[in-house]
Amino acid sequence: MDFLLQGLLKAFELLTTGDAETFSAVYATLIVSAYSLAVTLITGLPLGFCLGYFDFTVKKQVRVMVDTLLSLPTVFIGLLVYAFFTNRGPLGEWGLLFTLPGIAVGLTILALPIVIALSATAIESMDRQLRVALISLGANRRQLFLSTLWEARLSILAAALTAYGRVMTEVGIAMMVGGNIKWQTRTITTAIALETNKGEFAMGIALGLVLLLIAFGVNVSVSSLRKRY
């Protein structure tokens, strides 16, 4: 059990001494999760809105497909993205394999179904009278979309948090697409996997605690936003 205590002390040490390797992994983690979350929200929210708001003939089928994609194995996404970005792959010339943007693409594929499904549920569960009220007050289509999203902001925030938690703690995609290259594409999770393989449990636990600390910081910020609005 000593390694747990050692891990705790090591985490404290890594953070207080500004360990360059740790901060490189933290930086990589924050960058890929921020990129992927930004793209996910920009594309996922309108798609989730459409899925939750409009009635169309294949709506149920689309919903089942999105819900199925929630269970997409991360290693399978990693494999697909790897296959597309490798030199022999159709997008090989983009040079995204073993880069942070490459990892972000994989994480976006992982997070997109989460944001679409949860925001669609949030929009679906909203009072139908909201649409009547907004149109009656003179809203155009864009104002209708933005005001509806704003009314569902707490549920959408929860969807974004869920997606953020998923991409930040993901390891399969980061490992396969990023290659776990020190100082380049090593994220906190791939570093933990490496340290554990090396038998450096304390270091692994320390990095895990750093990850938890980041998650805690994000949740505290979101919680204060919730209180504000």
Binding site: D127, Q129, L130, V132, A133, I135, S136, L137, G138
Partner: protein
């Protein structure tokens, strides 16, 4: 067509494959007050949503100021406002709810002051309510805030769907007063669906009656839904809860709705001659209301659990001593019954 604010032609609306509204023709002039009455599920709310340009009809056309209009079209977007039966307020303060319409129009001049004035129109003190979140309002207060959010826009048309249903008497009165003020001060056309027909007859220039999604006339018609069963002398009947029978000629179908256009009220304790084809029912006068458009008095008589209406003159009311609570006979001619 151009002289009317609304010109509705061959309108049909279908919901989940079932026709819920069909209006062959309806014209509404600007600045008037139109009441819409009818039983639950008769299509009143659907009519208001279509006339409020919140939904597009399945078929047919609604022309506004002579031009065909649909939801979001510029002819109607800032001119027509609907207030639903359930007052929906956004998760914001009262001030931000009332100011929403002006904000999206980018009309920000003296915004807070105008919100305060609009709240005063519906009897709400801005100091007490402006900063209050919408979830901290009672049903009546929420309904009044919803109305203030529309009145502040000074709409050309205000459609109110059961504005006084399930709220307290004070809120109901304040809502009625504020709506009429809009019509009086700015010439706003009011289209009101309500079960409070006494109020509608009192304030409306015209009352239309919706039954099973069809326009039925002025609202004075008595509509009796089947089932009908065959009885004596070739007549069919519907037995009421107190054992009385509404008699009619053979209906087209057992579930057809009978329309009794003209019914007469006579005091139950006064002698009168039964005609051969006259049917007599006994009930209690529940309400007397003055119809603004015709100047007639409209009486409501509850027979068993079915309310009937009949037009009365002032003389009839005075000479027969008719008043709410008086036991009366309701008479109609069995041959005058129409089918719907």
């Amino acid at each position: 067509m151009g002289a009317f604010l609304y010109a509705i032609q061959d309108l049909t609306h279908v919901y989940r494959g079932k026709p819920v509204l069909r209006i062959d023709r309806l014209e509404i002039p600007a600045g008037c007050i139109v009441g819409v009455i009818g039983p639950n599920g008769s299509g009143k709310s659907t009519f208001l949503r279509l006339a409020g340009f919140v939904e597009k009809p399945t078929a047919g056309e609604i022309a506004y100021n002579g031009k065909p209009a649909v939801p979001f079209s510029s002819e109607v977007r800032h001119k027509v406002s609907l207030m639903s039966q359930e007052p929906f307020l956004m998760k914001r303060t009262v001030l931000n709810n009332v100011a929403y319409g002006l904000r999206i129009r980018n009309d920000l001049d003296r915004l807070e002051q105008r919100v305060h004035t609009a709240l005063a129109w519906v009897g709400l003190d801005a100091k007490e309510f402006a900063k209050r979140p919408s979830y901290a309002l009672s049903g009546g207060e929420a309904q009044r805030v919803a109305l203030a959010a529309r009145l502040i826009l000074k709409p050309e048309v205000l459609l109110l769907d059961e504005p006084t249903a399930s709220i307290d008497a004070l809120s109901a009165q304040l809502i009625k007063d504020a709506a009429l003020k809009a019509q009086r001060d700015w010439g706003t056309t009011l289209i009101i669906a309500s079960h409070d027909w006494q109020w509608l007859y009192g304030v409306c220039d015209r009352v239309v009656h919706l039954v099973r999604g069809r326009l039925m006339g002025s609202g004075r018609e008595n509509i009796i839904f089947g089932p009908w069963e065959p009885g004596e002398n070739g007549l069919w009947s519907k037995v009421l809860s107190d054992g009385q029978r509404i008699l009619v000629q053979k209906p087209p179908e057992a579930l057809s709705a009978a329309v009794i256009d003209h019914a007469f009220i006579v005091p139950a304790d006064q002698p009168f001659l039964d005609g051969e084809t006259q049917v007599r029912l006994t009930g209690l006068i529940t309400r007397l209301a003055l119809e603004k458009a015709s100047g007639d008095i409209v009486g409501s008589v509850l027979v068993a659990n079915i309310p009937f209406t009949a037009a009365l003159t002032e003389n009839q009311v005075l000479e027969n001593g008719l008043y709410p609570g008086r036991r009366v006979h309701l008479l109609y001619d069995v041959n005058s019954v129409r089918w719907f």
